[in-house]
């Protein structure tokens, strides 16, 4: 029998501690839409998305009402469009416009998959797609783009790294009149995963089924509140235990919603992404959890250790709560989406270098970091290469989603609104890695033994 304390705990989590399902993401394979004629291909893409996901939003709304839990975003991920562009030829922007239209028809919040996987080299369609990213993200609102430039098994494609530095900058320039928002919809990955429900990096991998439902949960506010209730004298073993128990409960919610959505839509259930995804709402912050554990402010010495423990405890708690776990699974540290991170950057406590160290122990990378507008493309490429190296060596996913704030300097701010939040321009080392970047080629895959 249910007891009153359990019931009140669930209600408090949802009402006061911002517990919600961050996203229900439907993965849709577009492999059967490929056609030698880009117009025919686009029509098939539109038809398949609207046919498969027509009920997605309505079903999610039903679940929200049934359980009283908000589902913040309904999203779609599709097969990397570079695959279709390779088959059809033509300008990939055409696909982006078609995806935008399909997203509007089904009423979702984001659609990911304007992507290319080039970790070992470029195949037909890949270069064209990357070249089309700035225009595609400029001319669409819902489409998100990602490019995988490295992996533990294949090394880092430095030609792609050079290209992506320029692409990020150009995307920001093209949307400079809209807070450079284009760059906030573009992620550069190392070790990208095929079943990630989170944006901007979601795409539907070619190893996935035709259709699939993946769920991402969000609950930093709940974890912080649970730690707040614990004694200040609790040792770190106890703290990890509290985080595990809370993560378990949060993930159970994701599992329930995912299996329900999957049954109602008659689409196989994929995975729950065990994540702590912050929102700009006060209290729903990963940085505040770290501060609750015992830091004066995020960025202080000890931040990496606290985050490592948090990330690991979230996974341990979540793994048992779900029948199938995947995606990025870990604590996210997107700067502009997290009130505590924003404060830490403003006060000078959190620097880019510290953030980079933090990404070695958590999901997912340098996320939503705002750079000065005059940052050189090679510096961005250098940053991407550094981050990819961390992912490649540690066998984990890392990503770079940075927004060069065109026309702005350190201390000024960009305001994206909604889940993307707002944030100050961060200081970056301006020394040029141009010779390294211009060399191109590939950083060879690392040795998997002698791991010191």
């Amino acid at each position: 029998m249910l007891n009153m304390a359990d019931i009140m705990e669930t209600i408090t989590m949802i009402q006061d501690e911002s517990l919600d399902i961050r996203t229900v993401t439907m993965g849709i394979s577009l492999l059967d839409c490929a056609d030698g004629d880009i117009e025919k291909s686009c029509k098939k893409v539109y038809d398949k998305i609207t046919r498969s996901a027509g009920q997605l939003v309505a079903v999610c709304e039903k679940i929200e009402k049934k359980y009283g839990i908000p589902i913040i975003n309904k999203r779609i991920s599709v097969t990397p469009i570079a695959v279709l562009a390779g088959a059809s030829g033509g300008d990939p922007v055409r696909y982006a416009l078609e995806l935008e239209q399909a997203a509007g028809t089904v009423g979702i919040n984001f659609l990911g998959g304007f992507s290319a996987l080039v970790h070992k080299g470029f195949s037909p369609g890949d270069r064209e797609l990357i070249a089309a990213i700035p225009e595609a993200l400029d001319r669409t609102d819902h489409v998100c783009s990602s490019v995988n430039i490295g992996s533990t098994k294949s090394g880092i494609n430095m030609d792609a790294v050079a290209l992506m530095g320029k692409t990020v900058l150009e995307t920001a320039r093209r949307t400079a009149d809209r807070q450079c928002i284009g760059a906030a919809k573009l992620v550069v990955f190392c070790n990208a995963v095929e079943d990630n429900p989170f944006m901007a990096g979601a795409f539907h991998g070619t190893g996935e089924p035709d259709l699939v439902i993946n769920v991402g949960v969000s609950g930093p506010g709940v974890v912080r509140a649970a730690l707040e209730k614990a004694s200040d004298k609790a040792d770190l073993t106890e703290v990890a235990e509290i985080i595990k128990k809370t993560a378990f409960k949060i993930t159970r919610m994701g599992q329930l919603v995912g299996s329900e959505a999957s049954a109602m839509l008659d689409v196989p259930f994929g995975i729950v992404d065990l994540s702590l995804a912050p929102t700009p709402a006060i209290g729903d912050s990963v940085a505040y959890i770290l501060e609750e554990i015992g830091l004066e402010q995020t960025g202080a010495c000890g931040t990496t250790a606290a985050l490592a423990m948090l990330n690991d405890a979230v996974k341990k708690g979540g793994v048992m709560a779900s029948s199938s776990v995947g995606g990025l699974s870990g604590a996210f540290i997107p700067v502009s989406e997290d009130a505590g991170m924003i404060d830490a950057v403003r006060s000078g406590s959190l620097t880019l270098e510290k953030l980079e160290a933090m990404t070695a122990v958590c999901s997912v990378g340098l996320d939503m970091v705002i750079l000065p507008g005059d940052t050189h493309a090679d510096v961005i490429s250098g940053l991407i290469a550094d981050e990819a190296a961390i992912g490649m060596i540690n066998g984990k996913t890392t990503a770079v989603r940075v927004i060069p704030a065109i026309g702005k300097k350190v201390g000024e701010e960009l305001e994206f609104g909604g889940l993307l939040g707002r944030g100050p321009v961060m200081e970056i080392n301006k020394k040029l890695p141009s010779k390294l970047i211009a060399r191109g080629g590939r950083i060879p895959a690392p040795l998997q033994s002698l791991r010191n």
């Binding site: 009153m4 019931i7 049934k66 359980y67 009283g68 839990i69 919610m253």
Partner: protein
Amino acid sequence: MKAVITVIGKDMVGILAKVSTTCAEANANVIEVTQSVLQEYFAMVMLVEIDNLTTDLTQLEENLKKNVAGMTIHVMHEDIFNSMHRI
């Protein structure tokens, strides 16, 4: 299938009566009620059977909010509590 109704707010006369009447109108059978009054605050958790409900859960919640004004009311399917608190 069961749903959990929670009612929280300032205590006053007739809360339980109004909630149960609204449930009866929707053909929701009350199975269990736990309630407590702490100082002037009223908190109640009611478990109702919803197999033969004549409206849907959202409508039931709206009716309750209308009939018992001034209280914070939630109607949620029991599965959310079961999945969160039971292994």
